[in-house]
């Protein structure tokens, strides 16, 4: 995959600051303040790089979406997956399509990934932007990611059914799969119209 850039919460990263905030929202322990720097991560792809990887030579217009509680509930009902953030980072792609940056819980840290949707709402491509788990680096392999291509909100998107698992990284595979399922429901409810 492409170059490794070290980024941190202060730079380019509403994702990272959101990561920390989301986790603090659960249990705000004083100790968290001491260990928050663990949210600094190795990033395989920046937002720009992920955009170019999925939609080469296109231009992007930021169109973030803030979900209402009704939309949030509808997405959860349609996908069966809990929505952790009210704000969704979305870009409109020139010539049709959407680019979304999202994150899911990994074994140790959040996994940031990008999903490109075609104008009809089907998955064009997914890219793992950062992944720092012990096993399951194959999650970044083109072969594993290719399983999502063409999936729509009607797809099953279940591990071991239409998505293959990776040995040693069941949790990560499961959460990425759930994440894509949730984003496809988000497309239907929050982007399509």
């Amino acid at each position: 995959m492409s170059t490794k850039n070290i980024t941190c919460a202060s730079e380019s990263g509403s994702t990272f600051s959101r990561t920390v905030k989301a986790e603090f929202a659960f249990i705000a322990l004083p100790v968290s303040a001491l260990i928050a720097p663990s949210a600094f991560a190795v990033r395989y792809l920046t937002v720009d790089q992920a955009q170019q990887a999925i939609f080469p030579a296109k231009s992007f217009t930021a169109a973030p979406v803030k979900l209402t509680s009704v939309q949030r509930k509808s997405i959860e009902q349609a996908s069966g997956v809990r929505v952790l953030h009210d704000e969704q980072q979305v870009w409109r792609v020139s010539g049709g399509g959407w680019f979304i940056v999202d994150e899911v819980v990994g074994k140790h840290e959040f996994i940031t990934y990008a999903v490109g949707l075609n104008a009809d709402g089907s998955v064009k491509q997914i890219e793992i932007m950062d992944y720092r788990e012990t096993y399951g680096g194959q999650i970044r392999d083109q072969k594993w990611r290719a399983q999502f291509v063409g999936k729509t909100s009607k797809a099953t998107l279940k591990l071991d059914r239409d998505i293959k698992n990776i040995s040693g990284a069941t949790l990560s595979c499961r959460h990425i799969t759930d994440g894509v399922k949730r984003l496809l429901a988000f497309y239907e409810i929050g982007l399509k119209h």
Binding site: E23, A39, L84, G168
Partner: protein
């Protein structure tokens, strides 16, 4: 031992369905096992250090060491081999039997002894020694994964062979996750048979115990939890001697290549002695000491994945 290993490997090979369900065998608890295993073809080295101290009287402290190597034979079957050794420091820690009534204690009189004090040691003198205890072989076979099935389930078998005792241990491991797998609950139900060398043969002991833990990953890489342990001892594996209870917190860090867990257990003063011998010699102020237990336990585990 070798026979068991061969049997388990071939069994697992036959049963294997070619479905990957593994996750890193990372211990988020200090005592309670989860159903997470080392994936096929991967290994892990673990160092355990457990300190346990304080009995009814005097001083008593043990540091248990364990060096473990784990290997994922398949994604659902893990084998481990480990060394058990410890350092013991004891002085005037156990009650003395009344010479006129051997089933009664001599009030206020103590001597040096306990399970980890070498047989033949002069009980009037303090004991301070290191001892290599045993070598253990451990096999864990997972039937259900908590990431894909409603609950995780695994079976555990472990024989240990040492110069003083031989042990066989069976466990049923259960795991249930919530909140995107950040909240983890685990339950272990254990049975252990212990054959200890005596002058005239061996003594058989049975143990039934259960461990349970609840842990939450409160920020990236860090989990904090609570563990509970209830231990039942059976003399000759038949006579119920006592039930002892323990509770304490644990904290865990998990990174890409290594993890570490620190746990503390305090014996709760709600222990019950059932046998006459244990009522007289092991129970004290609600605690159970005897040969088996201490008041405080601290365990540190560190693992390196490769």
């Amino acid at each position: 031992m070798h026979h068991h290993m061969k049997l388990r490997v071939s069994l697992a090979t036959v049963v294997l369905l070619g479905v990957s369900t593994a996750h890193a065998h990372e211990a988020i608890f200090s005592w309670t096992y989860t159903t997470d295993l080392t994936p096929k073809g991967h290994g892990e080295f673990e160092q355990w250090v457990t300190t346990r101290w304080e009995k009814e009287h005097g001083s008593y402290s043990v540091v248990d060491f364990r060096e473990e190597f784990e290997y994922g034979v398949t994604d659902n079957f893990q084998l481990a081999i480990y060394l058990n050794h410890h350092y013991v420091n004891a002085n005037d820690d156990i009650p003395v039997a009344d010479p006129a009534h051997p089933k009664r204690v001599l009030p206020g009189v103590f001597e040096t002894g306990g399970e980890d004090v070498h047989a033949g040691h002069n009980p009037a003198k303090p004991f301070d020694s290191y001892h290599f205890e045993s070598v253990s072989l451990e096999g864990i076979y997972r039937l259900l994964s908590p990431y894909k099935d409603p609950i995780g389930l695994a079976l555990y078998f472990e024989p240990s062979v040492g110069d003083q005792e031989t042990e066989l241990e069976w466990k049923i491991l259960l795991q249930k996750n919530w909140l995107e797998d950040r909240l983890v609950w685990a339950l272990n139900v254990n049975y252990e048979l212990e054959y200890e060398k005596e002058d005239d043969g061996y003594e058989r002991d049975g143990m039934f115990e259960w461990f349970t833990g609840l842990s939450y990953r409160f920020v990236s890489n860090w989990s904090a939890g609570l563990e509970f342990w209830n231990h039942h001892e059976f003399a000759d594996a038949t006579v119920h001697e006592h039930s002892a209870y323990f509770l304490g917190p644990s904290i865990h860090y998990g990174g890409e290549r290594w993890w570490a867990t620190l746990g503390f257990l305090h014996q709760l003063p709600i222990g019950q002695a059932f046998s006459q011998d244990n009522k007289e010699f092991a129970a004290h102020d609600g605690y159970i000491f005897g040969d088996e237990h201490e008041k405080y336990y601290v365990r540190f585990r560190v693992g390196i994945n490769f």
